[in-house]
Symmetry: C2
Subunit: 492 residues, 2 copies
């Protein structure tokens, strides 16, 4: 069928084409069918959206990703991408081969799948799981797409936490210690997606985090490390698209988690990686057995990709550190490097740094490096290389001016500190966009509490957001206090 191509903006990243209902009928094209469009400069494939008013009969509306197509075009029905067949196969619980996973990853990368098809892929992986073999192949396929960093150093250290714990900003401390010990550690981190602060958001309190590959190389040349935003370099870009489909249903299938993490590590050129797997009630991994199984799979997939992986199974029920939100976490980080700061953050950072040093075969004491102030000196060099102020101290960092203290209604013991509720509250208060918004948590599990003692403080930059957070706080109970008797026998 001959049609005239015209641009229509739908704000889409998929190659949607609009057909008038009459033309679509004539072509036999249903919604989500593909059409092949032959134009002056070649041919491309579009996903059909039918309409009775956005385009006139005789016109095909081309959206953003393919809006280079103009003028007279030949349009015919095309088959569905090969990967749709493989998604169906996975829905039928049949193991996928390497080339099939490769095709799926490439079609996702090139935006060839509709949301219906992408969601079916994610759902299939979630319900039917991925075998270790499939996970290996998927990881490889994901890291084959996008950019790949290379380093001269024979050992390139890295760490990753699978997340779900409030605070927990151990990365800048670990990078400072490990790079000071002489290792190369070019760390790329994410911004917050559903949490109140990603490591990149915290680092942005101190310095720039968006750099080109060349800039990153020169920072690492100078300081052995960096603490930058991974989104600035195109490492395993398919990951973001998959996560977009996983988020609405909170799907986090273990095989996909491993592939997401290790494909990025492989693309980043890492050779030795520590994976932090927090487990416990409310964490992403609920129990120790599951955590151990996940750790074994991480190591197995790592071996397949020539990445030496070790895992730290950590306590994931309570927050790490006291602050939640970019500035409040940044303050904790700097305080620990200054020789002070929250004990939980200091201990976890030291333990993971030690593991990573040992894993890389470096004989150095993380505690010595931290306590001697050398880690602080090192982070200052990194901040300076990333255009930050190397003289900054934790006292320079103050939270939002709007604040309210939430106090205990009774005396007793802290029986639970709920990561998820704390994160929801911090986001409601404005984090991460309002960098000085968030929480400071005053009590840990097991602490004795008197009636009216402060449990946590909410900070915001805007009073309206403080009000919203306060309203939510009235409904939640993120820091739970029970009398001694109730703490022993909880009636539900």
């Amino acid at each position: 069928m001959q049609l005239e191509a015209d641009t229509v903006d739908l704000g889409t990243t998929r190659p949607i084409v609009l057909l008038n209902n009459g033309d679509a009928d004539e072509l036999g094209a249903h919604p989500l069918d593909r059409v092949r469009i032959e134009h002056a400069d070649g041919a491309t494939t579009g996903i059909v959206k039918r309409t009775d008013k956005l385009v006139e009969p005789g016109t095909i509306g081309v959206t953003e990703p393919i809006d280079h197509v103009r003028g007279p075009v030949g349009v015919r029905l095309a088959g569905t991408p090969q990967s749709v067949r493989y998604v169906r196969k996975k829905l039928d619980d049949i193991e996928l081969e390497a080339r099939e996973l490769d095709t799926i990853v490439r079609d996702i990368h090139e935006n060839r799948l509709s949301d219906i098809e992408l969601s079916a892929y994610v759902s299939a992986v979630y319900t039917n799981g991925l075998s270790l073999e499939e996970t290996k192949n998927l990881t490889q396929a994901m890291s084959d797409v996008g950019q790949r960093l290379t380093w001269d150093a024979p050992v390139v250290a890295d760490k990753h936490s699978i997340g779900g714990v409030a605070g927990n900003c151990v990365t800048p401390i670990i990078v400072s210690i490990v790079t000071e010990a002489g290792l190369t550690m070019p760390k790329t981190s994410s911004r917050a997606v559903t949490s109140p602060a990603g490591t990149a958001d915290v680092m942005e309190v101190f310095c720039d985090v968006e750099f080109t590959t060349d800039e990153i190389e020169s920072i690492v040349d100078e300081t052995n490390g960096c603490l930058v935003w991974g989104g600035g370099v195109d490492l395993s870009p398919v990951d973001d698209r998959i996560i977009r489909a996983e988020n609405p249903l909170s799907m986090d299938p273990p095989g996909q988690v491993i592939a997401s993490v290790l494909s990025k590590k492989r693309s980043a050129g890492s050779t030795h990686v520590v994976i932090d797997i927090p487990y416990g009630e409310g964490a992403k991994v609920e129990n120790l057995a599951e955590a151990r199984e996940l750790a074994d799979d991480f190591k197995g997939v790592g071996t397949h990709l020539d990445i030496d992986v070790t895992c730290a199974i950590t306590h994931g029920t309570d927050p790490i550190g006291r602050g939640v939100g970019p500035v409040l976490e940044a303050r904790d980080v700097l305080a620990v490097l200054e020789g002070d700061g929250p004990e939980s953050l200091r201990l976890k950072s030291l333990r993971l740094a030690e593991m990573l040093l040992d894993h890389c075969g470096v004989d150095a004491s993380a505690t010595d490096i931290l306590e001697s102030g050398r880690a602080l000196e090192r982070v200052r060099r990194i901040l300076e290389a990333q255009n930050g102020d190397p003289e900054i101290t934790s006292d320079d960092l103050s939270p939002g001016t709007e604040s309210t203290i939430i106090r205990s209604e009774r005396s007793g013991f802290t029986t639970r500190v709920d990561n998820r509720q704390l994160c929801d509250l911090a986001r409601r208060a404005g984090a991460p966009l309002d960098s000085r918004a968030g929480l400071v948590i005053h009590r840990s599990v097991g602490d004795a509490v008197e009636a009216d003692d402060p449990l946590y403080t909410i900070y915001a930059e805007q009073s309206s957001k403080l009000d919203e957070a306060q309203t939510l706080a009235d409904r939640l109970e993120p820091v739970r206090v029970r009398s001694k008797a109730d703490a022993l026998v909880e009636r539900r």
Copy 2:
């Protein structure tokens, strides 16, 4: 957040709202998040789409389903619909309760789910299946939404085929026989979705098929029956939305099939139903055991809904009748009613009509009614009531003028007639939109064939479509002929 609402046409049926990236960040709204919009006349919920150019900062773009929202509005993040939690539960293979399925159905009906979420629902049902209890509850929930027809007659007859067989247009013949025997049979049928002709497409060759509920009632008053398009009345409207998500992946989970079929039957007011379940290689149901299980489930769900269901497990490997496509099937139908026509169509129609008569407790002979010409008289009354020409004969119906005969390359026996390939070919030739396009099949399985004998003829209204069908025919082998030796031992 205060914004100004402005209409943006995206050709969508979902309540998408466009937010400028800056406003979305400020609000903490990710793609596919929900926002609650408070406006002068009330409040509504929208699904977020982020954009950097379609709307200005300070503006919220409201799309078609909610474009009544205008002027200044208050916008805040809203939670996801309750049903998303239930979809996740089904993904986790946990049985859903009646009220949970009800919530899912209502949210689908009100377009509250994104494509990602709808696809996750369909995928979950496909991979984890539905228990009989879930199927019953889903069916009830689906038929509780939309219109409901009621009839004075204590017995209302109906039939349905789960499809997948080319030709197979038995419905008009059955309705003629059964209504002539005195039963009420107000038949609603579908148009083709992925097939070359639905029963409604075939009937449209003879008469109108779109009527209001009142008009349908008066046609049934006059003739005991009707043969109309179900889409004209709003019976179980959620079904179409679910099918839209099932089609790209060709998912047809049995529980969902039962719910789709019986929810429509319940909404149509049917009391006694025959379900035709074709089985065999290439059919939707592959083997007899599966067909029997499906039949039992159909009956169980029917009982729950007070519908008396019986099932006909039929041979589904070959086409029924000779014609494929609206006019060519209409010609076969009329020929059978005239006392002639393809034997397979005549026999299957008679057998199903007999089953339905018996099932409804009517002592009448389908064969007598057909052979006496009374069925022909009856269908003429129905055609007239539906504004058609009652004097039409099968000779009046001619296929498209563009045609080509596909001949056998060798002598031997017909070993396979492939339903799916025939349907693809007929669609390529232009069916169902070009009503006179399609195929006539000249050979059945087991027929002896000489080299150069005609196997099937392709008809089209447009020579370009005939060419396209011919090109496809060169790649396929819908009517397979093997020499006697090869037919016994097929080497693969």
